[in-house]
């Protein structure tokens, strides 16, 4: 039987020759990731009453959400997590300051094509950019994985996205995925595995592909897989941890639906408050006043995002009415950005640089919004109250749009910055 990548990975992980969509399988987990919510997982794990975790090598814990600790309760939670990893001998522990879990997993070489990965974070789908089946789960499911190494899955149907055409200057993968979500809706991929292919995807850097796999979760995707290629192999050569197999869909694999998008003339896109599928071209919003601009997150806090933003911000000054907050996705992104001079450009332009981590993305610290304020942000969610007060308005856009808007103090088409 012909199969998609998702079906092949779930078949391999559950020890079967093949699986059909709709079938429920009990699969062996290759990697289990948690972050600050390890506290909740460990509480539940204690109730299951196990002496040991199933495999301490396959558990990775990264503190990233509220780092460094923003309150005493957070500090106490972090302390509990440090005690937990010591007790259970979890060596793959990355303490505050290392970066956002999804970025750290890839940089440290934990992600390979063909793996079955679960994480107690919905954007675990990011690892799909490496050809893995990676998905978010809750704390109880994770406690069960820690205890047994297994989890049940319903084999999803696969949606195919064939994306072709060349991106014009200052149009990025963020614009493409927002555009797609605008078309298919906030639940357009719910319960489905997505596969992205076509020449636009092939020509994208790994940083850009990770944006697609990350943000696709906002359409409900269970997994957001990009077939691996030489770029992935070259990346992994530098970080090799384990051997792996590249997995591809069969020619005549069955997709629930395939979409074709020619993105040749796509404009930069904005997801407007407070629905992710309320997507409009930036030209419809130019002039909308903003109080804050955020460049960062697991979606768009990588080196490539900093490169495009600094290209726009070089020798410019941020509007006096705007606070611009820059959050590197990881320590290594931060270091590279210093070497390349991006951080200097941001600082001179008037931006605030905070430590690697989730930063203001989830509205807890490092730039919380007041009622009635607006933000343009390269993060992935614009829900009511996500970044602070429930009366704050969140516009999502690409790093280029964030940088251009920060200069003008209003939503701005980055293409207007091309001299």
């Amino acid at each position: 039987m012909a199969s998609t990548i998702a079906e092949k990975i779930l078949a391999r992980a559950s020890g079967k020759k093949e699986v059909k969509s709709g079938e429920i399988v009990d699969a062996n987990i290759d990697l289990a990731m948690s972050h600050d919510n390890t506290t909740l997982v460990s509480e539940i794990f204690k109730e299951i009453d196990k002496e040991n975790v199933w495999n301490s090598q396959r558990i990775v814990i990264v503190l990233d959400h509220r780092t460094p600790a923003n309150t005493i309760t957070t500090a106490e939670n972090h302390k509990l997590i440090r005690e937990f990893v010591k007790k259970y001998n979890i060596k793959n522990f990355f303490d505050v300051g290392e970066g956002i879990c999804h970025q750290v997993l890839t940089e440290k070489g934990f992600i390979h094509p063909g793996m079955l990965i679960v994480g107690t974070d919905s954007h675990t789908t990011t690892a799909g950019a490496f050809g893995a089946f990676a998905t978010g789960i809750g704390a109880t499911d994770m406690a069960a994985v820690w205890s047994t190494g297994k989890l049940w899955f319903k084999v999803p149907r696969t949606l195919g996205f064939d994306i072709s055409g060349e991106l014009s200057k200052y149009v990025t993968s963020k614009d493409i995925i927002l555009y797609l979500i605008g078309k298919i809706g906030a639940d357009g991929a719910n319960y489905k595995a997505c596969e992205f292919y076509g020449d636009t995807i092939e020509n994208m850097s790994i940083d850009s592909r990770m944006v697609i796999s990350n943000q696709a979760m906002e359409a409900g995707a269970k997994a957001a897989i990009i077939p691996p290629d030489k770029k992935i192999l070259d990346y992994l050569k530098l970080r090799d941890k384990e051997s792996f197999e590249m997995i591809y869909s069969d020619q005549d694999a069955e997709y629930e639906k395939t979409f074709e998008f020619d993105i040749t003339n796509t404009e930069p896109q904005i997801a407007c408050p407070d629905k992710i599928n309320n997507v409009k071209p930036v030209s419809k919003l130019t002039g909308e006043k903003i109080n804050q601009a955020v460049l960062g997150s697991c979606t768009n806090g990588r080196l490539e995002d900093f490169a495009i933003a600094s290209d726009i911000l070089k020798d410019k000054t941020i509007s006096k009415k705007v606070r611009m907050i820059v959050v590197p996705a990881s320590r290594s992104v931060y270091l590279e950005a210093i070497k390349k001079g991006y951080i200097e450009i941001f600082l001179k332009a008037g931006a605030i640089i905070v430590n690697p981590g989730c930063g203001p993305c989830l509205g807890l610290h490092q730039g919380v919004l007041a009622d009635g304020e607006s933000v343009i942000s390269s993060t992935n969610r614009n829900y009511k109250g996500r970044m602070g007060a429930s009366g704050a308005e969140i516009y999502l856009g690409s790093p280029a749009t964030v940088a251009a808007s920060a200069i003008k103090g209003e939503i701005t088409n980055p293409k207007d910055m091309i001299l």
């Binding site: 909740l40 957070t74 789960i137 809750g138 109880t140 499911d141 639940d187 719910n190 509205g363 969610r381």
Partner: protein, 164 residues
């Protein structure tokens, strides 16, 4: 399992950030979370709610983050069940793991108004709108998931399994 309660109706795409805002995620105890349930959307939710009430909602209920606190806070606020047109997948798993019945039925959602009384028979897979005297079917739930719900969640289910 048979449940009865009055409907509290919401729209589509009710996300986890409005069910339980990020600022409460440091809490791991259900009793600390429950008073903040639905705070960003419906600040009076907890006070107007009677134990056993049923949330009735449109498509994609629980979209967004993987935070299990979203299912926990609703369960411990006393929500008897959630009937929606569809659920976001992580929330669906979390609710079952917490022993909170999640039921898909577009017809029941369309026909139910705020405060209607619903009677839900999980074994017979039937929903009755008592106020309007209407009956609906629901999407079947696989047997082992029903077992998890009946046991009160994944942890008690695993404990039962290891003792039997």
């Amino acid at each position: 399992m048979i449940l009865k309660g009055k409907a509290i109706k919401y729209g589509n795409d009710i996300n986890t950030d409005v069910i339980i805002p990020g600022r409460y995620l440091n809490f791991v105890k259900p009793e600390e979370l429950a008073p903040h349930a639905m705070e960003n959307l419906d600040p009076d939710f907890f006070s107007k709610f009677t134990k056993g009430d049923v949330i009735v909602a449109g498509q994609n209920f629980g979209c967004g983050s993987s935070r299990e606190q979203a299912a926990m806070c609703l369960k411990y606020a006393g929500v008897g069940a959630i009937v929606a047109k569809s659920f976001a997948r992580i929330f669906y798993r979390n609710a079952i793991n917490q022993g909170l019945p999640v039921i898909e039925s577009s017809e029941a959602v369309d026909a139910t108004d705020n405060k209607d009384v619903l009677l839900i028979d999980l074994d017979k897979e039937l929903i009755k709108n008592v106020t309007k005297n209407l009956r609906f079917t629901m999407q079947p739930v696989p047997e082992f998931l029903q077992g998890i719900i009946t046991a009160g969640g994944l942890v008690p289910w695993l404990q039962e399994k290891s003792h039997s």
